[in-house]
Symmetry: C2
Subunit: 346 residues, 2 copies
Amino acid sequence: MSERPTIKDIAGKLGVSPATVSRALSDSGLVAEPTLSRIREAARALNYRPNVSARNLRTQRSMAVLMVVRDVGNPFYLEILKGVEATARGAGYSVLMGNTENDPEREIEYFDMLRDGHADGMILMTGKLPWKHEEYAERLAGLSVVVALEMIGGSGLPHVQIDNAVAASDAVRHLISLGHKRIAHICGPIPEIMSVRRRDGYRIAMKEAGLDIPAGYEPVGDYLLRSGEALCQQLFELTSPPTAIFVANDEMAYGAIHELRRLGLDVPSDVSVVGFDDLYLSEAFYPPLTTVSQPRAEIGQQAMKLLLRTFAGESQAGETMELATTLRIRGSTARPKETGARVRTL
Amino acid sequence: MSERPTIKDIAGKLGVSPATVSRALSDSGLVAEPTLSRIREAARALNYRPNVSARNLRTQRSMAVLMVVRDVGNPFYLEILKGVEATARGAGYSVLMGNTENDPEREIEYFDMLRDGHADGMILMTGKLPWKHEEYAERLAGLSVVVALEMIGGSGLPHVQIDNAVAASDAVRHLISLGHKRIAHICGPIPEIMSVRRRDGYRIAMKEAGLDIPAGYEPVGDYLLRSGEALCQQLFELTSPPTAIFVANDEMAYGAIHELRRLGLDVPSDVSVVGFDDLYLSEAFYPPLTTVSQPRAEIGQQAMKLLLRTFAGESQAGETMELATTLRIRGSTARPKETGARVRTL
DNA sequence: CTGAAAGCGCTAACAT
DNA sequence: ATGTTAGCGCTTTCAG
């Protein structure tokens, strides 16, 4: 009663061999019609479910993939997860979430899970590998790994991403086009490629507009709310504070706006703020945040597709897929006061 | 080279039996010292990892638990997940996330995963079971399931939760103590127990203060941003709109505040708003949201502990654990204008 | 088209 | 303290 039925039970009950049952249940097309239906029916009647451990052991596959992120607590990853999940399910795979908290030990643990058959492949979104460059090739041998959002130099892993530099430049150009001259940038953690690229984009846009980047205009944060607050405060202790801030992600932008309000400054009339990510809440935020929107669901979807192609041996080493971003102009950006005044004077 | 070493490889290389290797690697304490070290060393040298499918097949356990939620996209669950994960890891379990999107088919799928050995137990946070009441006992037989956050009448499953009615009453009493009389409540989806309890709490507090609940003061939403906006608008189309709103969750509260702003009403000077959940962003929101804080990490932790006790056969049927909530009073609530005026007149 | 038989890698009696 | 043996439930040759 409480015992789960096995393929043998069904075979016994129907007077056929276990092999036939297995074939029937896996739609191999090798079972003739009278038997086929009987087996299917019996399986349903007994509420039969194949034991995954047994199947995985035999087939040497787990039909699961691992999606590893820095911090499950960050809502940013959720929509990506949905994209991954939808595509994975479509192909018969389930998705496990891995959470590293930036801890190399845990990163290694998840790679171990690939080795021990927990999952067949991995979508890595942590922006780094837990080994030295020289070890990359050896450590990654035989593993199916796709990198998303970030990229990992020298790994030769296929990846899907956005062009962070171009997106950042566009965001800064928007501020410039509004008439801002003193534009600061709150960066992400700096040795990381993604943060560097966004800063590059900021610098490029500033340079092409002939604008100066004063000392202290590029404080470095960690993508968290608190650091947005702290760095914004820092910015307004400068002798010549900015009239606009391009923040490397929405969460720090929330923090920055919060701090500006504490300082008695209005957004956008005193200071304009642009974020990056377009989190779900950025639209309901006050003021609604102008920000760079990434096609998150699609990133997940494409990453999973790439992984599936890797399973099939169809992906190239270092294959790249780049998706387009959109600047969502909302209520946190406006013309600077001086410019507004000047315009009126004309 | 690319083949993963098995226990047999180690045994062969060292001239011992596979059983001994197994025992040595599982710290059974049954292997003598000269051999023990040699085996451990060899395992490390070969970068050996036990094959989980084989182990699970043999032990009839997967050492994994399933945490099933309505919507992974909701940041609310993330901190709970962290609590679950921390406790699970401590006990050697890994955590799989399941996402039902309120789809009974998918709910059933996750129960199937328990049956087929994908996981040993489940923490259910969807607030319902995908079967008719009569089937509960039969369907749940032999499965280890713990319910968190919500409760499922008639299932007899152990659960951990908060007292939604008391928490809601406290929130409304806060508004009453500020002097509000016309207090509305934006409800969650109503046949669901959690929403009903919160509404009960609202009604109790109103009644004990002798306050009236006019028609239209209890619009029903779905916990999503948009419905907060729409229902708030509806509320202010009434002939006698409220001066305060108790909203059944933070996300709808964000929407409501957004809408109030659109209507030209200031929060809190024109209208006070209280939420429920205390999401990460509620503090940085403008105005900082007064809301009911749930001990999310602890909920996760306790749910996992309860599940572990269920594995050990130590949990009682229908065992309940109730955790305390806290009302976080922030900037979205204030005395109503009329009252303020009256006070000044005195 | 179906059955018989082997074996995936591991652990747990049972022996010694 | 270690080895021998069997088998978890499934899939997949290989025969027929």
